[in-house]
């Protein structure tokens, strides 16, 4: 836009007639002059707002606020297995172990992408894959900005409020001996797992904009804040019921039940995919498009779990605990896979691949909470029950007419509840907590090992609180997004397939000739699939 100051010069210079003419007439017009000032004022207000926001950001999250960060480790209770005793220096081997396992947990994303894409129909493959990639990116930025602060920053029992944008970090995360950023990365990988689980039950009918918005809600707010209750310093569930606090070693409840129940709420608000008939209406699940990919995905997830559980010791010096956790994890997964397969066999006398994969995953989810405190026999029992639980969970969803294409709720939600409760039954009392320099000796016993029902009651209560809170909050969130009209894809898009409609391409192209494409538009009255607009012809 030309300003008044430049107007004199513009008259003397040779200009293109239209601009000059327009300017000459406009400058005489009173309405036009008023419009100019209104636009200029609008721009100034916008600039001032941005400036104020930047100033406010620096004020709240910058050096001043960060200077009040408590550095005394005794105020922290840490992730609930961390014993807090002394001021601890950076421990190289523990930091290395935490980083390596963080990378392993991150690789679970590949497993989720394979599993979810394989179990989905081919028409929504691109959508599933993009959703996982976007979740991974989004979750990191949110975790850096405020997710980590909400979850692991010192605060009150409900929410943390220190280390926004990771400002003024200490050398190590208090009480662990692990370099602060390694701890952040490790916990980010967990958050990412949770946020990817949520998409599982919502495959095939969620609009991408709705997807982005609920992903922000889950990875930025629901997971970090609820996670703070158990793992955050001073979280109310983690400190409640002292001296028998709620325990969740690596996240059966914090990661998996939360993810599972968000996805259940999403599936309920969305409703089933078009054409999905349920068992009691004479139908069944829509068939998966690539079981090869799905099965490989399940095994990749299993591999990633060797970071998820053993890494949660945050300590390589506790070599006994690390090894015990790794072995228990494998035993439970194996028991779960077999239990699910054999439990389903009598129904149709068929050996089912899909349920075996989900059974193994259910075993992994279940052992995630108790893996540190149970012995190998306990791990096998926990896995066996988890395998049966997942089959019954699938049946329950079918009966309730809830469409969960991946089985996210039976695997993560239900097996997560079972795993959390199982600690109150199978804890042997030999191991208390994993510390930076080895385990502490005072343990707690579950019901089956003569410890009475106190721990069991605490586990049941904790699991109930977390699941109920997750379900309530996420149900409200999905309802609001749905009321805005962006949660569910419209009917045309769902029928033609999300990939073409939302993403402009399919995952699999049958190649005739040079790939059956040409860079020029068709000569006749072609259509754009998504919008039904004719392609412009030249």
């Amino acid at each position: 836009m030309l300003t008044f100051a430049s107007s004199d010069r513009s008259r003397t210079r040779v200009m293109k007639p239209p601009v000059k003419e327009r300017f000459k007439t406009n400058i005489k017009d009173k309405e036009c002059r008023r419009y100019f000032w209104v636009v200029l004022a609008g721009k100034m207000i916008g600039l001032a707002t941005v400036g104020a926001l930047i100033f406010a950001f620096l004020h709240f999250f910058g050096a001043h606020a960060g200077a009040t960060t408590p550095t005394d480790p005794t105020v922290m209770t840490g992730q609930d297995h961390l014993s807090v005793n002394t001021q601890i220096q950076v421990n190289a081997i523990n930091t290395t172990w935490t980083l390596i396992t963080a990378f392993l947990v991150f690789f679970m994303q590949a497993g989720f992408m394979f599993l979810e894409a394989g179990f989905a129909r081919s028409r929504e493959t691109v959508n599933v894959l993009l959703e996982c990639v976007v979740d991974t990116c989004l979750c990191m930025l949110l975790f850096w900005a405020f997710g980590f602060a909400f979850m692991f920053g010192p605060g009150n029992g409900i929410i943390g409020h220190t280390w926004f944008f990771l400002n003024n970090p200490p050398t190590t995360y208090p009480g662990t001996g692990v370099a602060f950023y390694a701890f952040v990365l490790f916990q980010y990988a967990f958050a990412d797992t949770c946020s990817t689980v949520t998409s599982g039950a919502m495959v095939g009918r969620t609009g991408f904009v709705g997807d982005l918005i609920y992903s922000i809600g889950v990875s930025g707010f629901i997971y970090p804040i609820l996670g703070h209750w158990v793992w955050g310093p001073g979280g109310w569930l983690g400190t409640w019921a002292h001296p028998v606090p709620f325990h969740d070693f690596a996240g059966s409840t914090v990661v998996h039940s939360v993810g599972g129940f968000v996805s259940l709420a999403g599936a309920m608000v969305l409703g089933p995919r078009i054409g999905r008939k349920f068992k009691r209406d004479g139908g069944g699940p829509l068939p998966p498009h690539d079981l090869t990919i799905a099965a490989v995905g399940a095994v990749i997830l299993w591999f990633g779990w060797y970071g998820f559980n053993p890494g949660s010791t945050l300590s390589a010096i506790d070599y006994g605990g690390m090894a015990r956790v790794a072995l228990n994890t494998t035993l439970a997964a194996s028991a779960g896979g077999l239990a699910a397969m054999f439990f389903l066999y009598p129904r149709f006398r068929k050996w089912d691949l899909g349920i075996s994969c989900n059974g193994a995953l259910a075993g992994l989810v279940a052992i995630t909470c108790p893996c540190f405190w149970v012995n190998p026999f306990g791990a096998v029992c926990i896995g066996l029950v988890a395998g049966v639980v997942v089959v019954l969970g699938v049946d329950l969803l079918e009966h309730l007419r809830i469409d969960d294409p991946i089985g996210a709720w039976p695997v993560h939600g239900l097996a997560g509840i079972w795993g959390t409760i199982s600690l109150g039954l199978f804890a042997t009392g030999q191991y208390a907590a994993s510390g930076p320099y080895g385990p502490s000796p005072d343990g707690f016993k579950g019901l089956f090992y003569g410890g009475g029902g106190k721990q069991l009651m605490v586990q049941v209560f904790g699991s109930f609180c977390m699941c109920a809170a997750t379900f309530a909050v996420s149900f409200i969130m999905f309802k609001l997004i749905d009321m805005a009209g962006i949660l569910r894809l419209d009917r045309d898009g769902e029928l033609e397939g999300m990939d073409l409609y939302e993403h402009g391409t399919t995952a699999y192209h049958v190649e005739f000739g040079y790939g059956s494409t040409s860079m020029s538009p068709p000569s006749d009255d072609g259509v754009t699939v998504g919008s039904h607009k004719p392609v412009k012809t030249e």
């Binding site: 402009g504 049958v510 072609g526």
Partner: protein, 113 residues
């Protein structure tokens, strides 16, 4: 006499067409996934920021053998079920069939349907 009704329809309309044909007593159909274009001339897709035209669209090819007396009924059923009113709904054509044989029994023509 037996006629062959062939239809090329939108893939997501297959369920409705199948139900409609079952509804008028047709006992068997053959379907295949095919690709092609008609007057609509393909559609555009996007990939890594480029837009290009895919000349061949996925369609479903439906073949129905029926008694010549039922041909109009079959054609109407498919037309009604497969119609969206938008471009690319497909085509139906009818051809006379010389002979039909059921492989298992050797029955001929109408008995073989």
């Amino acid at each position: 006499m037996v006629h062959l009704v062939t239809a090329v329809i939108k893939p997501f309309k297959l369920e409705e067409v199948k139900d409609a044909l079952k509804g008028i007593g047709i006992q068997g159909i053959t379907v295949s996934e095919v690709k092609g274009y008609g007057r609509q001339g393909g559609h555009t897709e996007t990939y890594r920021g480029s837009e290009y035209t895919v000349d061949f669209l996925p369609k479903v090819h439906v073949e129905v053998l029926c008694d010549t007396a039922d041909v109009d009924k079959v054609v109407d059923a498919i037309t009604e079920a497969a119609r969206t009113g938008k471009i690319g709904d497909g085509k139906i054509w009818v051809t006379a069939v010389d002979r039909v044989v059921r492989v298992r029994t050797g029955e001929r023509d109408l008995e073989a349907l």
